[in-house]
């Protein structure tokens, strides 16, 4: 069993009368890269700020390595934060910025110097020691912020949307570097973002946060392929969502009819006739086929877009009110308005239990 480094126990946060975070419990393991992912305003940053201590907890407890730190001031908490806009000290050089925390903790100068040098070379900022933040690019400022955090040698680093102000290319580079850095340092990174790509590429585990609670917690693969709620399915990646009713059941297969009138075979999971289900199908799991078989329908291609590696299109079917999102990885050319058979493989359908929403 992995060691729990941070435990949130029924944590709630109230602003005025509204709960921003409701009864949230979460175990974070030593050395993992955990991402809190959610839309803006979902409370993910509040969770991070409560772990850092910059935000007080209304109810519940926070433990760091088994020790209750709920009421410990951020000044004494052994965690560090990388802020969204990096929050570097503008009047200090790169060196002084990185040295700040060590100076506050009264680390002896010779040890501090060595640690700063190590941190600087780790984030590849050698030669930048005497520059001021205003003389650095966004990516460089980001590196200073990271160095300032890791130089403290604490076990946990909190990153608050730390990449979102960088341009796309730099962001991709930093994603890889951040992940490498985390593995090398064997530190626990808790990363907050609203960007699902970032979450999927970097994380060991993702916690999907919505309305102040955790919707789903799991590896990127689990989250992507087995969303447990409609929110997760919709938030992560693209998906086709069907509302359906069970019409007939056999031993292994349940036959359902969607609102749009598609008759689909799905894996039976002790469904009863008239059970309401929500079906989720990822666009890349839908196949374009030549001949009719089970779960196959005819439709008309619209909005065909070819972008090199893959082709995206929508397929209208039935009464043409709804279009399926389809992503193909083959290089075959399709014309808009052409008729095709599309197949929704039984195995690729994720079923959410009772049709709640």
């Amino acid at each position: 069993m992995e060691k729990v480094i941070i435990r949130l126990e029924n944590v709630s946060k109230k602003y005025d009368k509204d709960y921003v975070i409701k009864n949230l419990s979460l175990d974070i393991y030593d050395g993992e890269f955990l991402t809190l992912l959610g839309p803006s305003g979902c409370g993910k940053t509040t969770v991070l700020r409560m772990i850092s201590g910059l935000e007080a907890v209304t109810e519940g407890k926070i433990y760091l390595e088994g020790e209750d730190i709920t009421d410990v001031s951020p000044i004494y908490r052994a965690v560090n934060t990388i802020f969204q806009n990096f929050a570097l000290f503008p009047h200090m050089t790169v060196w002084d910025n990185i040295n700040f925390g060590l100076k506050m903790k009264k680390v002896p100068v010779d040890i501090a110097q060595k640690r700063i040098k190590d941190a600087i070379s780790l984030v590849k900022l050698d030669g930048y020691e005497k520059r001021y933040p205003s003389e650095l690019s966004g990516g460089e400022q980001q590196r200073v912020a990271i160095a300032r955090g890791i130089v403290m040698n604490h076990k946990v680093l909190l990153l608050d949307e730390s990449l979102c102000s960088l341009d796309l290319k730099l962001k991709r580079e930093m994603q890889v570097e951040l992940k490498k850095l985390q593995k090398k340092l064997k530190m626990t990174f808790i990363y907050v973002t609203h960007d699902q790509d970032e979450a999927l590429t970097m994380s060991d585990r993702i916690a999907i946060i919505n309305n102040g609670t955790i919707e789903q917690l799991g590896s990127p693969r689990e989250i992507y392929h087995h969303p447990k709620t409609l929110f997760t399915a919709d938030f992560i990646g693209e998906s086709n969502i069907f509302k359906a009713v069970v019409k007939k059941v056999s031993k292994d297969i349940a036959y359902v009819v969607t609102k749009e009138g598609l008759l689909l075979e799905v894996d039976n999971n002790e469904y009863q006739i008239d059970d309401k289900l929500t079906l989720i199908v990822r666009p890349e799991n839908i196949q374009i086929v030549n001949k009719q078989s089970s779960n196959t329908y005819i439709g008309k291609i619209i909005n065909y877009i070819y972008d090199g590696a893959l082709a995206k299109m929508e397929v209208k079917f039935g009464d043409e009110k709804k279009a399926l999102k389809v992503t193909l990885f083959d290089d075959k050319n399709y014309e808009d308005d052409s008729q095709v058979y599309f197949k929704i493989p039984k195995e690729s359908i994720t079923i959410l239990g009772d049709n709640n929403e």
């Binding site: 850092s52 201590g53 910059l54 001031s73 951020p74 000044i75 004494y76 965690v79 560090n80 934060t81 802020f83 969204q84 806009n85 929050a87 570097l88 000290f89 503008p90 009047h91 200090m92 700040f100 925390g101 506050m104 903790k105 300032r148 403290m152």
Partner: protein
């Protein structure tokens, strides 16, 4: 194009005329006066001399200058000591509260400062509000000397000049990114260390700006030293006023004035040297 230029001239003309007539010409006149001789009847002899400037370095006047500087520095220092806590206190208050408190700071500006200074007599004199309150609380046996001395002058100066310090300091403090303060907290800096290492260096320009606006009037506000110092205490402001109105030695008064102007410019030069930006001084 020509019409545009004509328009530009028309709108800027009043300001140019105003500056020329009421600022530049008087200063040039004062400069001119400062190099002339005064005769013994309070008149002016049109004869070049440096005597007026040399006279400033007479021990009597050096003492007055020193005293003025000390009063000015103390006033400035006390104003800084009040402005920082006030500005930091305002930092995490809601917008409405902040606006209200800043308006309260501004309210005294609506009344003439001379009248407000007279108001202090009611508070500070031996049978004034402060002394009667303290003695009725049995905190003092005999009334404190709160005015007609240096203390009175400093109280008056701080009171009159405080808004000029609070506004720039508050403006500088409120410009600090809250996340920078959070970052300092996160890295283990307590309140005092955050103040010394983050807030002070980030707001130096504001403090210097405020210091100029407090220190320079503080060495010149003769009416405060007249009223609350009881006319016994002379600061540079009184000295200049006396040269023009009482002693009738206009050239010497002019020389001290020019001396003060040069001194002010020196202060601004120092500010620039230590890396301050001029536009942060509000276009000085």
């Amino acid at each position: 194009m020509n019409r545009k230029k004509a328009f530009q001239i028309i709108v800027t003309l009043p300001v140019v005329v105003y500056s020329l007539l009421l600022i530049l010409i008087p200063i040039v006149y004062v400069l001119f006066l400062s190099f002339l001789k005064s005769d013994s009847f309070g008149g002016i002899e049109y004869q070049f001399t440096l005597e007026n400037y040399l006279m400033i370095f007479d021990i009597i006047y050096i003492k007055i200058l020193l005293k003025s500087f000390i009063i000015g520095l103390l006033t400035t220092f006390i104003c800084i000591c009040i402005s920082y806590p006030f500005s930091i206190f305002l930092m995490d208050k809601s917008e409405t509260k902040r606006n209200l408190l800043i308006k309260l700071v501004m309210i005294p500006f609506l009344t003439n400062s001379l009248i407000r200074t007279y108001g202090w007599i009611v508070l500070l004199r031996k049978s004034g509000v402060v002394n009667t309150t303290l003695s009725s609380l049995n905190l003092i046996d005999k009334p404190l000397n709160l005015m007609y001395n240096n203390l009175g002058i400093i109280i008056g100066m701080v009171y009159t000049l405080l808004p000029f310090m609070i506004l720039p300091v508050y403006s500088a403090v409120s410009k600090i990114d809250a996340r920078v303060i959070d970052a300092a907290k996160d890295l283990g800096a307590n309140k005092i260390k955050r103040f010394i290492h983050i807030i002070v260096p980030e707001t130096l320009a504001g403090v210097f700006n405020g210091s100029l606006m407090v220190f320079i009037p503080a060495i010149g506000y003769f009416f405060i030293s007249d009223i609350l110092g009881g006319g016994k205490i002379m600061i540079v402001g009184n000295l200049i006023k006396n040269q023009f109105l009482t002693a009738r030695n206009w050239p010497f008064g002019a020389a001290i004035s020019i001396f003060l102007i040069v001194f002010t410019f020196l202060l601004i030069r120092i500010y620039k040297k230590i890396g301050g930006k001029l536009d942060e001084l509000g276009g000085l």
